[in-house]
Symmetry: C3
Subunit: 211 residues, 3 copies
């Protein structure tokens, strides 16, 4: 459980925050924003999903009060600010870290909701909000349609992993192994989707035939 | 009161959720989003206003925990995904259902705020947030200026209906008839605005004369 | 402290609300929105930051329940609606009032968070959210990248003023003079940034030289 392995989960969380903040900072640099804009986009991307989760769960957001999370996001923001061109050469590293962030945020968000007594459906939706909320805020602030709505298979593996975790929790299984297994599943499917360009289905085109 | 006629009000609520989700899904299809994007826009449009309401009222959002609401939104999302071209031919039906959603969300939101002890002004503002919040989120995510800020008379009848409901509540009148009457008023004025293309006033143009 | 000088702080608050609402209403008029769009943008700009602050602090938002704040925002909305061209001729006045709003919202937000027991870091972040949140919502709804992310030194003086206030509070200094001093600092630096066009630094451009 979360409470019994805080160090492992904090480590994963910080890695996710760093990766998401980096992605937010890079978007800001590409948009030509100044140092404050870069930091805001870095912090919103990294912390926004967790703040939304805590607001919905009616607890005080840790994303604003835990200095380790905030400091990590700000550090990543400065990396993006100072080394955007260097970082962009390592696009694969950033995408890998982003997949890791997706996996850890999804499982951490779902778990927190379950532990606060949320039913399974709500827990999975809250997990999803944690995992994709920050990225959606980043894209809305940057003035583009959120990537998660358009991109290759991104949220669907997260949803599946969260559902597995909620099912295990409902069945009374609370081991760290299950949590890490679900995170690994999300990460693995996301990486595979990137590698083989898996797409979520698009709406059927209307037939142009006269009938 | 809400508590004594839950079936009627749940029915109206589900109809509103379905209509709003359909409108969100259709916007997503038009934007060329994939199945996840369609579902997110459907759910955000249908449930976002209610979640914002509950966050502001400091209670756990039912829009995430009540599976009937979530399932209805997802169903409407699949209808939009699979039958967008069919649905768009029934634009009038969709607009009618949207007006119904506006009416039920406005009254349900105002009523919930009043019952949680909010003063009349706050209750009406919360009702408005319930009624137009989801649509605004839909348009922000889709990258357009929210329709409610530009369109024919939409929010103004809702405000009037909410004010009537709050006035009745403040005067000690708590009957279902009043609630349904206010909802019917909102619905009727909105339909009339659509039928006769009523517009809210626009700012005065500056006179170009030299004086 | 806030509680002992409510009249002074209410006055500053109302001035800030008026200034921010005016800026929101003017953006709406420029976008060609109708009277409802103008009012929504005025109210969201003036009250959105405070509502976000209260949601994060887990208290009922005063921005929705205090009729003096709402009424002031609506009044400013009507001024923007009716006299947009007149107001725009006084751009300097509007910018000055906006700087005043930034200063009062930053200190009021930080102070409220501190008094509710938030640690210093969280208090400053909440103060910043109060001060720039409404303007960011305004720009997102208007479909542009938020000005605060691009503009001349805006949020950085606010952050500095909030940090000074949090430091004084942590050191046990709770006088009104400190609060007003911090607000004056924010206001002064912001006005100087406008006067001499101070910019926050932009990311380094990549060198094009072969080395």
């Amino acid at each position: 459980m979360l409470a019994s392995h805080p160090a492992v989960l904090l480590g994963l969380d910080l890695l996710g925050v760093f990766a998401f903040a980096l992605s937010g900072g890079l978007v800001a640099v590409r948009k030509g924003l100044d140092v404050f804009g870069v930091q805001v986009l870095a912090c919103v991307t990294a912390l926004g999903g967790g703040v939304a989760r805590d607001v919905v769960l009616d607890v005080r957001p840790v994303g604003l009060s835990d200095w380790r999370l905030v400091l990590t996001a700000v550090l990543a923001g400065f990396v993006a600010f100072g080394y955007a061109h260097g970082v962009q050469r390592f696009a694969k590293v950033v995408l890998t870290m982003d997949a890791l962030g997706l996996a850890t945020f999804m499982t951490a968000g779902t778990l927190k909701a379950l532990e606060l007594g949320a039913p399974a459906l709500e827990a999975v939706l809250v997990g999803l909000m944690t995992a994709v909320g920050g990225g959606m805020m980043r894209d809305v602030l940057a003035g583009v349609v959120p990537e998660v709505l358009r991109t290759q298979l991104y949220a669907i593996p997260a949803l599946a992993g969260g559902a597995m975790l909620a099912a295990a929790h409902t069945a009374g299984v609370h081991s760290v192994a299950v949590t890490l297994g679900c995170a690994a599943f999300v990460f693995g499917v996301r990486m595979a989707a990137l590698r083989w360009r898996w797409q979520a289905p698009h709406p059927p085109r209307p037939s142009r035939s006269p009938s």
